[in-house]
Symmetry: D2
Subunit: 416 residues, 4 copies
């Protein structure tokens, strides 16, 4: 950053650096997988890794650069859900795309990277395009997490239970989870939501007031050991613990434990990104639906927090924890003692439906479809997981999934 460099240039350079860091991280997440692995699609809700690689590139090409697609079919192949842009391959048919080949998709990434680089270096991006570039980076980070959760789901279908990758090193001595305590918050009229400046998704705004009654929040999330006590107490056989939709899911899906859990000779195993492993009772429980989280909370004599409660608790907590950068790719026991640790490890289900904040306005243009149209039938998760990039998270961040979804790293924290 020598003398004579102009601030705009510096900003551009910083943005270029960040762009490359994000783009490289995506490819690095795909690297342990063969082209065959990257083609797997195990359900319509999950996408092949190769498609994630292409779709995130298409986002920059189409929505940031507004460029003609490298291949005319890419608008059709790599559009996710933007109706305004046009028709696209059926969501559940993405696993049929053996062509373009894996190499061709990597070449497409390079092509888009050159386009962005050139536009950035040449100062050819308008202020709106720079905003959209920032959106594109956050979008790509979301897909980084999905690459991991989607391929975990796909590999779990294989009777060989293959690992995404082998662990770097033997796991250290097994740590114990800290005892759970309750942190109290007073009632009051409070502001939540993102400030107008800085990057945030449109669904985090506008900042607005909510009245919150006094509440308490557990200092850590529920562990596998605690959840096992729920199972052993007949949790999955007692309708009185469940929401009606949840109980229907238990019966029609045959749920008896969290996703990926399997009982073999009296021991609980679960599938992880490192293959099948014994369940560690000290780890945060995850791969729960919201129904299971809710039933557990009812069984425990508590409840799920609202998203406002969670956000109020989080606003002064640093974004620190077990994120994707740790390479653990699995929740780790919460050892940090009595303070609130709210970020990382597992997304925390709330009881709040995903709804617009008062005065919500979607982003203008094609990206107006990014968030707003999903505000129906979904529930809020907060906090980020062991598969989330650290720089992607903040206290106001709103993640959302249908209550029946289990393939994310989703757990829970009790409130009362």
């Amino acid at each position: 950053m020598g003398r004579g460099r102009k601030p705009a240039e510096q900003t551009r350079e910083k943005l270029a650096d960040r762009y490359h860091a994000v783009r490289v991280a995506t490819v690095a997440l795909a690297a342990p997988l063969s082209p065959e692995d990257q083609l797997l699609q195990s359900m319509p809700d999950a996408s092949p890794v190769k498609w994630h690689l292409g779709h995130t590139s298409w986002f920059f090409e189409k929505l940031v650069l507004g460029a003609k697609p490298l291949c005319p079919d890419y608008d059709f192949l790599f559009n996710s859900y933007f109706e305004a842009i046009g028709a696209r391959v059926a969501r559940g048919a993405r696993g049929m795309l053996s062509r373009p080949s894996h190499d061709e998709v990597l070449a497409y990434r390079d092509h888009v990277d050159e386009g962005i680089d050139g536009a950035l270096q040449g100062g050819r991006l308008s202020p709106r395009q720079l905003q959209l570039l920032e959106l594109g980076l956050n979008h790509e980070q979301q897909h980084q997490e999905l690459i991991l959760t989607d391929v975990k789901h796909a590999l779990s279908q294989n009777p060989l239970r293959p690992a995404y990758r082998t662990p770097k090193r033997a796991p250290a001595a097994r740590p114990r989870a800290a005892a759970v305590t309750w942190k109290a918050f007073p009632e009051g009229l409070q502001w939540i939501g993102a400030e107008p400046e800085g990057f945030a998704f449109d669904n985090e705004r506008p900042r607005h007031r909510v009245f919150v009654e006094a509440f308490e929040l557990a200092t850590r999330t529920v562990t596998c050991g605690e959840y096992l006590a729920f199972i052993d107490d007949g949790g999955y056989r007692r309708p009185e613990l469940w929401l009606s939709d949840g109980w229907a899911a238990v019966q029609t899906q045959g749920w008896r434990a969290p996703l990926y859990w399997e009982e073999a000779q009296g021991e609980w195993l679960h599938f992880t990104l490192f293959g099948q492993r014994p369940v560690d009772s000290e780890e945060p429980v995850c791969h729960l639906s919201q129904y299971e989280a809710d039933a557990y909370a009812r069984w425990a004599g508590a409840r799920l927090p609202t998203e406002a409660e969670w956000e109020l608790a989080a606003r002064d907590v640093p974004v620190e924890g077990n994120f994707v950068e740790s390479g653990r790719l699995h929740p780790a026991p919460a050892t940090r003692g009595p303070g609130l640790a709210l970020f990382g490890d597992v997304w925390e289900w709330t009881q709040s439906a995903y709804a617009p904040y008062p005065g919500f306005r979607p982003e203008p243009g094609a990206v107006s479809e990014y968030n707003g149209k999903f505000m129906s039938g979904q529930l809020l998760l907060r906090g980020g997981s062991c598969a989330s990039p650290a720089s992607h998270l903040r206290a106001t961040y709103r993640n959302f999934f249908p209550p029946i979804a289990r393939w994310q790293f989703s757990g829970l924290r009790l409130a009362r």
Copy 2:
């Protein structure tokens, strides 16, 4: 109320009167239908009229009196969804119950009425049982409305498009709907929910504070004429107007208009409880899903109200309007000018998910399943309809259905 009568006796007598009034009203609603009509079940969400007659009686027998069932199988046949009570006939198979016959079910009603009468006269009902009796009456009123909406749905499947009953008299000159205006409400921290005294469902409590920003509410609901403008403007063909789930419903269900509407030779007809009729543009539009209500509001540059907004607006409005007692059994044009008319005609979709109020506690006992377990995946409707008994409604009343449901008398009012 002669001399010498004790207050407890008077209360008992009043309750007995009210009990009989409600019970008789149910039978009267079924009366225009043949036993064959009363057996129809057109979808799992709707029940045969005969089943409603039996189930509401079973509620008093089982949950109020705690009596042995008249027939041992009736617990199995007439339990709706109370898991704690045990197994029951599959919801979608209620239409297969040709036995017990229609006459047997009416005899069952008489039997239960005698039981209640005897217990009331004999002063043998505990205070808790008296509460449950009140709950049973409100429960029966809910089923009165369902009798009408369910049989409307069933009759609509018949290509003959038969009428539930013939109109008492020719409709008067067609009235015009009043012009819509907006009523403004200031921001503020407000109390909503039912007071602790008097009957209310558990889900209306506890009364609690919410912060509501300033808002405006339309003085009347949207009319068929206004909704036709939405249709004519391509409302059902423009994905940008729809929530993602709503757009999926439009496509998979082939929606092109509200439920029961049909275009024939350039004219819109709709099926009513009096058979097929031309759509009257002055009437409130109804049989909308929440998705359609939401899309219409977006198209109109407005939005759906929250349930808190609606309740705040309603708290000083008298419960007056077009209810089941009018015998119109169809929404009527809102002619009452600039004041807010919030009750009757059509249930009004809100944007609020059905969720527990802070500190919500379900009723104790088996009836704990009455409301709480449905607090997932449903949305709030407010205000009551032309099929609701007047005495059943109040400003705090919370009705709820999945957003895709269309067979209730459900319309919308705009907010902004």
Copy 3:
């Protein structure tokens, strides 16, 4: 038949008598059922009794008289599958027809009977119409059997397990089934199929030659006791006994015994037209799919006969046995000793696919759809059942159902 009557008149009179006998028999079969019972439809393959009453009348009105329908909608309501005639109510939605009422359908029957009577008396029916009248009578007899099998299926869905009617008298002392022996037939080139004269369905013609190898046929059908040995020997758990499609059905349908069988406290019960009863080991087993019949035969070291084998064996056997006229409405033990008893009690599955005979020509006109278009995916049954009218059967008669169907009175006889 006094002097002076002309032969044509006599024939007309005989036909009129036969017409009335058949028509009255249909109404008599429906008589034990309430209008509610007669509305039941338990699956798309089965129809409400009321619909059978209407459809058989429509057949005479439309296809014999060629008359304008009594009500314009009846072509839509009561057409079964005649595409050439036009659109019709969806097969699975016949149970939604509470209107026309039961009484209206009976009045429709009377109206059609008057039409036929008048035309017959007036000598106004052409030779082709007289043929179609004969077809209509046979058609109605087929629906008589379906009335019983369809309502049996419908009543079996009711947890009360109600009876179609109460038995006339207490069953006599329980007879024993005769010992099974084998009757041998030599190889040879043989004629099968119906002669050109006399009534037969088009699918029984033309008479043609087939070469049949030497074979043996069991003298009676398989009993419940014999079938129980198959069950007890793990018949439903051993894939090697089953056709691939049959094994798939066992698994997806959860078959463990014939339809209507239920094990309770170590005893096998089954649902009959007289309600739930213990399985009688001496009775012919019935309500089997062709898959079960085939698996049983393989287990027994035998096989199912071909339809040609069955017909050759039957050609000199009188049409005697337990038919609908006996009023037993249930298969009875075969007590008749060593001779072949081939008719009545249960339809006998063959291994033959339903296919056109060489040179097959469908009936001309709209009734060409009667049989020919179903010659795909169905298998042949022979012999008639306890629900068949005696006068409806003959050695060349070809009944057919998909191999998975179990709601007919269908059993099996072994061949080898």
Copy 4:
């Protein structure tokens, strides 16, 4: 074949040569495809190419050598439908097997080849094992054809319409199909089925007598041009031409033309193994269901042949034609003039259900499941296609598929 070589040795050597020729041919068919392509599974009925490579090897390892699997999981992964051998991966989930990798499957092939080679050279295969080896080779040839038809179906799902491979050379001048004439055959009692000696599948035996009436067979199969006339004459809109199941398929599947056909700007295109191409009216029509073949025949005033008719016609016809060895991988116009050309180009649907021949006995042992258990719900095809290996076919060969199947190279020849 030098001096001193014993006949057994020579036979072994010939068998080893044939084994290698077949095994190499399979790998050669997969060679134009990337590992990604080879993983595609487009429907449960079709399998990934990689799975075909593994399964055919497993057949030799398990059923011929009776060896321990190279990997313990391979019995689970590569068993197709042999219930006696045990559980296996769900048919529709074969596309989820990114592991074992493509290279590992090729290594598995080598391992099995070494095993067979060693056993053959060492003279360690029993006579029964040598029979099973022959069965294994015929089995592998069946999968060679499936590799082509399955990958064609999979690639057709890709909106890019990618080619399996590029044509070797530009197509020559477009040849004309010969005029169709009819060849007559007299009535008579005839023998059909395979002689006891030599290889044939169990379902081709025993040889037995059938009586066949006089018939005529068209000298060539129906062309695309002829089929277009059927389409243009409303063939897909006229229920009277269709079997009932076929008409249902037309409506539920939305059929308007053969599989892979698409109309674009007034021209018919179809997807081939070389990508999208205009339909050539002179080529045999293919990718028809039996329903379509049957409807066409009815429209043309003819019918489908029975399998006996076809076999009688074929017994003196040499097995010559357009097979997989030609590399055309697509049916070619029948230019050979007035003689009967019965083999190659397209499989010919018959009207015959797949049923056991009189006296049929399945192969002993685990391979008893090979054919017999599928004798339900399927129809016979005869003659072989442009994707069949020439050495795999003979006049008695019985191919079978459900009548709704369209992804094989299946066409029709008229009979009358």
